[in-house]
């Protein structure tokens, strides 16, 4: 016989205890679920704001193009002063062209 039966003498009481325990667990789950739902609903505007509009995307593309054009200018002037290895200069030019093309398509 289980030790608990000393305290809960009848099968009915044991069953009632189990039901109460189940109900308490259900209430806890319900509270967690409701809190999560509230957090999700509250964060929808935040995430919606993070989804960029076409205008924002276009502005970012322009910024990226400008960033790579400036990179090329800096690399070209350093190369003219023989401050950078030729291999590196060639690679940066190739990467910059690739990135500018990618940004222009967006």
């Amino acid at each position: 016989m289980r030790e608990t039966s000393r305290h809960i003498s009848t099968p009915f009481a044991e069953d009632r205890g189990r039901r109460a325990c189940r109900a308490a667990r259900f209430r806890r789950c319900q509270t967690v679920f409701r809190t999560l739902r509230r957090v999700c609903v509250a964060s929808v505007p935040l995430f919606a704001a993070a989804c960029k509009s076409d205008q924002q995307k276009a502005a970012e593309s322009r910024q990226s193009i400008q960033s790579w054009q400036s990179t090329m200018r800096m690399v070209d002037s350093a190369a003219a002063r023989h401050e950078l290895p030729a291999r590196f200069v060639a690679r940066v030019r190739a990467t910059a062209h690739e990135e500018i093309e990618k940004a222009s398509k967006q």
Binding site: A50, K52, A78
Partner: protein, 404 residues
């Protein structure tokens, strides 16, 4: 005299070992995009890591336990497995990023693709771990890391606006692009705090048989070493703010990182960035690999120790070999190393509470530390920074992904 030498060596190696790919890349992005405005995130991260390192050293010296070992003992195996798994996965991504940084340095130097360099770089790291001992890794590679002082020289030569830099120490709200601002801020904090460093330091203290006579050394190394290390990170922010931001250059690619020292140091500038990147990433690779192997071996009760011959701790040595293979696999899979770095640093920030909260419980346990338990300030700083970084990361990472 011996103590002074130990303190000096400890500080020098901490400074040399502070910068790694995460700190360099995140600090450069912060400076290029927001000039001096994000210096506060480096300062906050540095204060927190100084406290964490001091705690882990004090814990090892007083209790003769490593943190992982004590965590399993104090909380039980099932609870302990949660931080172990989280920290292992995050550190594995950090390792891939560090190995990527080393490969990028080799690519910048030779022009040969970083994917081709991933395997040779990993073999060099593995060989160093296999044939050398803890002191060589801790002192040798970290001493070479002092080359990163070039960033301080470069920053000073660019005549920064010291008032604006000082104003950046105080946190402020972004004037533009809030998502990017918070994402870079958490990445900088994640890169500065690096939990792998805490496990590495704690295991190193046990390997070098620290006792209570090392408490003062530990405090000096944590405060001064991490403080000067943080100063190096701030120098990278300042450099990017003076060199890249005025030209409208954002750090979207490692090639742009190589331009940081060009205006102040000319021809030498390019090569100093390459060497700094290579040495810093090699040092960090070795530390992360060892830290990962320490975590698992100590958690599972295996023989461990970088000072033991591989035959005496076969599972430990086998594990770090496997971990290197996994990191190489991530790199070869074609992940962009800069994106991997930024996300692994942000994930590190998100996972911070898993490492720091159990540590705080241990640090307040008199059974381990006697009268040397934590004070209120240490508890408050670590609790506040970890919780704040985790909340910011949990919000900023999905926003950044959603925003492209």
């Amino acid at each position: 005299m011996k103590k002074i030498f130990e303190i000096t060596l400890g500080i020098v190696t901490s400074v040399g070992g502070f910068l790694e790919i995460g700190s360099i890349a995140t600090a450069a992005q912060a400076g290029a995009a927001f000039r001096y405005q994000l210096i506060w995130s480096v300062v906050l991260g540095t204060i927190c890591i100084a406290f964490l390192v001091e705690m882990s050293g004090r814990f090892a010296a007083m209790s003769k336990h490593t943190l992982v070992d004590a965590m399993r003992e104090r909380f039980g195996a099932s609870f302990f497995s949660v931080p172990l798994i989280v920290m292992f996965l995050v550190s594995l991504l950090v390792l891939a990023a560090e190995l990527g940084g080393l490969a990028v340095a080799l690519e910048l130097a030779t022009g040969i693709s970083l994917r081709a360099w991933a395997v040779p770089a990993a073999i060099v790291a593995w060989l160093l771990l296999w044939v050398t001992n803890f002191s060589v890794i801790e002192n040798g590679v970290s001493l070479l890391g002092l080359v990163t002082i070039a960033f301080v020289v470069g920053a000073v030569k660019m005549h920064p606006d010291y008032h604006a830099a000082l104003a950046g120490v105080l946190p402020s709200m972004p004037h533009k692009d809030a998502t990017s601002y918070w994402f870079i801020a958490v990445s900088v904090i994640g890169a500065s705090i690096s939990p792998y460093l805490v496990y590495f330091y704690s295991s190193g203290a046990i390997e070098e048989k620290w006792d209570r006579s090392y408490l003062a050394t530990n405090r000096a190394v944590a405060a001064l070493g991490m403080g000067f290390g943080g100063f190096l990170s701030v120098s990278v922010v300042v450099l990017a703010a003076r060199v890249l931001a005025p030209r409208g250059i954002r750090v979207d690619h490692y090639d742009q990182l190589a331009l940081l020292l060009l205006p102040p140091l000319g021809r030498w500038g390019f090569w100093l960035v390459v060497v700094s990147l290579g040495v810093a990433c090699l040092g960090a690779t070795l530390e992360v690999v060892l830290s990962l192997a320490y975590q698992v071996a100590q958690g599972l009760g295996w023989n461990w120790g970088e000072n033991l011959a591989p035959a005496d701790d076969a599972r430990f040595s086998g594990l770090y070999s496997l971990v290197i293979v996994l990191a190489v696999a991530i790199l070869i899979a074609g992940v962009d190393p800069l994106k991997l770095t930024m996300f692994s640093m942000a994930l590190t920030a998100a996972a911070l509470p898993f490492g720091t909260f159990p540590l705080l419980v241990l640090m307040n346990d008199e059974a381990y530390l006697g009268e040397h338990t934590n004070g209120y300030i240490g508890n408050a700083v670590v609790l506040f920074v970890s919780a704040m970084a985790a909340v910011l990361a949990i919000v900023a990472i999905p926003l950044q992904i959603l925003g492209g």
